[in-house]
């Protein structure tokens, strides 16, 4: 039996960090992730962890310090949001390109222009091609569980890629909800010791990050790409072991009332919970609707997603981030591409929603389900796949 508590998403993340007791945490505070750093530095000050806490002067330095610590063989973590993640950009690629395990808790927040402190996914979605594994979390429980699992995935010898564990800023990071924590000793046993095969300390002569000539660079990128593909099975294996310990099962995505669903909403993070309430309301009236909640966005589980959507008639993919490409958001582009090989494809449209903390309501999802009915009845065309919901003057 776990420990029942009432915690915010930030407290849940900090608690998991404390239980794992990383060797090094290097972080710089930024809203809404600041609390995690705040709580964790208190644990350091109180001697509850023996982590080396590096109070750096920027996120660029935070990620640089994490890269150094991981290369030295230390279990390493950091936390950030929004512009903080953007400032890490250059180093994100260095961490994954050098195959350095670590976990970054991303408390999702809008990117500036104009400045906004509230939630959307433009920060982590922008980093989707940086070679990091990305796990998304509906609530505080999932943020905690994903965080505990992330270490086993990142450090697995078939993977050796860093992991982002994402949750919605304020909406879950600053909301207290019931949670079941795992006992400290069980977390420690599950996560185990970090024993890298090669590292800078006590590992014999080793160079990390030297110039990679055209003779080798391409092969290294190929290896990184293969590692990302292998990560899918490792995520499933680790999740299975986690379910045996806690009773909480996780797949690559969650299928909610999908068995006979004709209209499906694909969504990730906190709004998935709100979409489920909308689906419940319509199911109560006998309507065949479902929700596919993505948990793993990198690697993208394309074959599994396509199979799950193969019986649907119309699908709306929700993006809390705009790609400004004139075509649709990042989740949409991947889901639609994944479905290309299906013998019979559902019609698939995109809805950009909830940017910059715009509250996302049950009514928003009821509206989208209604639009899916219109699409089933009258079809759509490619000029009309890129849509918005909840914008004043648009709908």
């Amino acid at each position: 039996m776990g420990i029942r508590r009432l915690l915010s998403g930030n407290e849940a993340t900090a608690t998991a960090m404390k239980q794992i007791n990383p060797d090094v945490v290097a972080a710089y505070p930024i809203t809404p992730s600041t609390e995690v750093v705040h709580y964790f530095s208190q644990y350091v000050a109180d001697g509850e962890v023996d982590t080396e806490f590096v109070a750096v002067e920027s996120e660029h330095s935070a990620m640089s310090a994490c890269i150094g610590a991981s290369a030295a063989g230390g279990r390493t973590a950091t936390v950030t949001s929004a512009c903080g993640l953007a400032l890490m950009w250059e180093l994100l690629y260095v961490a994954s390109g050098q195959r350095l395990p670590m976990t970054l808790a991303v408390i999702n927040r809008a990117l500036s222009g104009p400045i906004n402190i509230n939630n959307d996914h433009s920060d982590s979605m922008g980093a989707r091609d940086s070679g990091w594994i990305q796990l998304y979390s509906e609530n505080n429980q999932e943020a905690y569980d994903n965080y505990v699992m992330s270490w086993r995935i990142s450090e697995h010898k078939d993977v050796l890629l860093p992991v982002m564990v994402c949750q919605d800023g304020f909406i879950t990071s600053h909301a207290v909800e019931n949670i079941e924590l795992i006992e400290d000793e069980k977390v420690k046993e599950f996560v185990g010791e970090f024993k890298p095969e090669r590292h800078l300390i006590d590992g014999g002569p080793l160079s990390v990050g030297p110039y990679d000539t055209p003779h080798f660079y391409f092969e290294h990128q190929y290896q990184r790409a293969q590692a990302m593909k292998r990560a899918k099975q490792v995520i499933l294996d680790v999740s299975k072991e986690f379910a045996a310990m806690t009773g909480r099962g996780y797949g690559l995505f969650e299928e909610y009332k999908m068995a006979d669903a004709e209209r499906v909403i694909v969504v990730l993070n906190s709004s998935a919970g709100t979409a489920k309430v909308a689906a419940d309301q319509l199911r109560a009236k006998g309507e065949k609707v479902g929700v596919l909640k993505l948990r793993v966005f990198r690697p993208f589980p394309h074959a599994e997603v396509a199979k799950a959507l193969s019986n649907a008639k119309a699908v709306a993919v929700m993006d809390k981030c705009d790609s400004f490409n004139g075509m649709g958001g990042p989740v949409f582009v991947d889901v639609r591409t994944a479905c290309y090989d299906l013998a019979t494809r559902p019609q698939i449209v995109n809805y950009i929603y909830g940017l910059g903390g715009r509250d996302v309501t049950v009514d928003n999802f009821l509206y989208v389900y209604e639009k899916l009915t219109e699409i089933i009845n009258s079809g759509t065309n490619t000029d009309d796949i890129y849509r918005h919901v909840g914008v004043r003057g648009v709908n």
């Binding site: 909406i171 207290v176 709100t274 309430v277 049950v362």
Partner: protein
């Protein structure tokens, strides 16, 4: 979810509406309930209108939107009655609890024709007398909403507050006893129609 109680708090930045909503969450959690407690973040400055929310139910709610049709509304600062639509979406079967020295019937004109329960409590006076600061009215307001909503039995609430208040104010132990006194008075002094 039929058994869910939704509460919306209105206050001004610095008045402790968020803290009160988190204390209520603690108390309901201790009763075995599923709880959400969350603030609505806007410009975080002293004096700006803010809202905070509670959902309390017997099963976990997966809703992650703000609350638009609350069962109860708590107004920590009566000057908000003319600044914010405090009764917006408030269910007729519910009630509003306002921090005011006035009688409930004297405030009805400011409530946009709201037909549900109206309660007042002079929480600022209680805070002034017990805590020496009229702005610290949130704990008395918390007691008042517990009394009006019946969402937690009073004796269980008092017992839980002894733990929560100690925890919340662990760095300021001198305010623990005065806050407990403010909570006791909040339960007794709320007036309704």
């Amino acid at each position: 979810m039929s058994n869910m109680v939704e509460i919306r708090w209105h206050g001004r930045g610095g008045q402790g509406a968020k803290t009160a909503s988190l204390l209520l969450a603690d108390a309901a959690f201790a009763q075995g309930k599923f709880v959400q407690g969350f603030p609505e973040y806007g410009p975080e400055r002293m004096g700006a209108p803010i809202a905070a929310y509670n959902r309390i139910s017997d099963e976990r709610s997966s809703l992650h939107s703000n609350i638009y049709e609350p069962d109860y509304v708590v107004v920590v600062d009566a000057t908000l009655l003319s600044a914010v639509d405090v009764t917006g979406g408030l269910k007729k079967t519910g009630a509003i609890v306002i921090n005011s020295e006035r009688e409930p019937k004297d405030l009805i004109d400011q409530l946009e024709g709201y037909e549900g329960g109206v309660y007042t409590i002079d929480a600022s006076a209680i805070a002034g007398e017990e805590l020496g600061n009229r702005n610290l009215s949130n704990t008395a307001m918390l007691a008042a909403i517990v009394k009006v909503s019946g969402v937690i039995p009073e004796d269980a609430f008092m017992k839980e507050m002894e733990v929560s208040i100690k925890d919340t104010f662990s760095s300021k132990p001198h305010v623990i006893a005065p806050n407990m006194k403010a909570i006791e008075r909040g339960l007794k002094e709320v007036k309704g129609i």
